[in-house]
């Protein structure tokens, strides 16, 4: 199991996110995600999630390190530019 583009994930705290984009940096998978409130995507709630597996279970960690967030946002932005 892995996070997929245009899929909605539900976390153990019942928060829901729609996966908008993904990138691999330093061997780690990061996903640009938007929170879902009342079945509607909330553009005010954008998070970058790092995916990892532990005991065959899928986990995500919300990235808060600002430097890493900046780097990943630049990567996601570059992916949206068409060549």
């Amino acid at each position: 199991m892995t996070l997929k583009f245009n899929h909605i994930i539900t976390l153990e705290n019942n928060d829901k996110y729609v996966v908008l984009n993904n990138a691999i940096l330093g061997g780690k998978k990061y996903y640009l995600s938007m929170g879902i409130t009342n079945k509607k995507a909330n553009p005010q709630n954008i998070k970058i999630l790092e995916e990892f597996i532990r005991d065959e279970e899928l986990y995500v960690q919300i990235i808060e390190d600002q430097k890493l967030v900046n780097t990943l946002l630049k990567i996601f932005a570059s992916q949206n530019k068409s060549y």
């Binding site: 245009n6 976390l11 430097k67 630049k74 570059s78």
Partner: protein, 556 residues
Amino acid sequence: MNTKIFNNIDTLIDMATLSKSKEEINAELIEVNSLIESKKKEIEAKKQDIAEEDYVNTSLELVDKNIEVSLEQKVAKLNRQLKELENKNIELKENEDSLNKEIRALEENSEDNQEYLKLLGDRVSTSKDLTSLIKSEEDHAKHQATILKNKKKEYEQVLKELELNFQAKEELEAKLEEYTKRLSDIKSNLKNPNTYINKEQKEKDEQSLEELNQSLEELEKRKLILLCDASIIGMDAKELVLKKNYKEAQAKIKELLTIVKAKPFMDIKDNKTLETTLEKKENERRELVTLMANKNYELSLNTSFQIRLDYLQEEITALDYQINDKETTLKQIDDYLNNRLASDIRTCEEDIEVLEDFVANLKQLDTKDSETLKTLEKKEQELTTLKTILANYKDDLKDVLKKYQNIKELIEQLTIKKDNYLTEMNNLKDYQNTDVKVIDIIKRKEDEDRLKAINEDIQNIKARLAYGDSPDDIFDLIVAEMGETSKTNVGNKIESLDEPLDDSLSLETDTLTDTLEDALKEDIPQENLSSVESLDDNNSNVFKVIDIQPIEELRG
């Protein structure tokens, strides 16, 4: 009974945390007394010096006296010169008057002569005898004219001399005025006794006297403190107890109690409150130690550098990602070109070749057979279609190659950008490495002082807790013993305060850094210091994913 009272008095003395014995205090008292005496002598000597010293700068006075004499001589000389000039002027003036008169007389005479010579001239035509007379008169007139000319020259000379003398007189008078003024100043200075007083020396001596008085005052204060020392008061109280003078003994013990209660935390009766305060202080210390360990106290003189470095690092990482991404796309295009498009085009070209041969062969037959002609027509149509397909393939190939080229150029541009960022980053790092680290000593000292103060508080609280009973309780016990109203034993074992309560708490500023490091090792879990990126079970940002579904299902 006295033993119990004495023990309790000793406890109060201990509480005053004075480690000095009576002998030590006496020794210090002797030293302070001798210092006081020596200071007093110094002050007396200084006062005498000040009184005897007239602070007159004799050399300055002597110089002024010399100047006075010299100026007096100059003024006298100028006056003489002026007198001579005036006399000379009078003489010249007289000379000028006399010359003026002579010139006027000569001029009048000359006019008369001219008129006389004119009359004589008119007569010459009528009388020849007058010719010699005219000649003689003309010679005389010429002679007179020469005399007049000389006199005028002499007169001009006198006028010039007079003018020069006036100028010289004015100069001499100006000089005389200046010298007279200076002479008058000097004379007034010499008459004024304060003019030659050495103010600087006087102020210096007065300041030195003031400093001596201040240090004497300090010593007197120290003496007073020593005389009021807790151990001395305690000894006095014990003596009074021995003499059974309980009333005065109680007063002395009360005095001792006041000293004890002035010490930090000694006035708190409730041990529970003390324990809570101790816990709070220990927490505060732990937090401060952690804070100090995490602070590098470097003055952020190059914050902008660091921000730029972080930015460059982010950009470089993002560029690396983009370059890798584009290179992957290039590889994909390359594979597509080699394995798919090129192969399809080759197949199409081969088919066209075969079909062209076939059509050519049919045409060579030059037959009128309708079936053959039909076949030829069909194959020619097929050939045309195949050529269109090939053309379409080639158009696609062109597009893909163009795309390939564009991506290649983009990679080059991104690489150049990345190289520029790398160069800038290396330059900044080089600069940072050569930059001398500036430590905010003031801030560090503030924290160190705060930590020291907390440590002292902790030591004081522990010291107070070590006694069990509060100073007030002990005082009550002493009073009770003295009045034989109670037989209560203090009964609490008092720990000696001579030794440090906790070696680790006796922080000196010099060893603060080492202690900080040790404290950090103990107090801060290592994982808390690790990077934010590392995953941790207790991390509140980590969540298990319990469901994943396509976005369409949500819409549905």
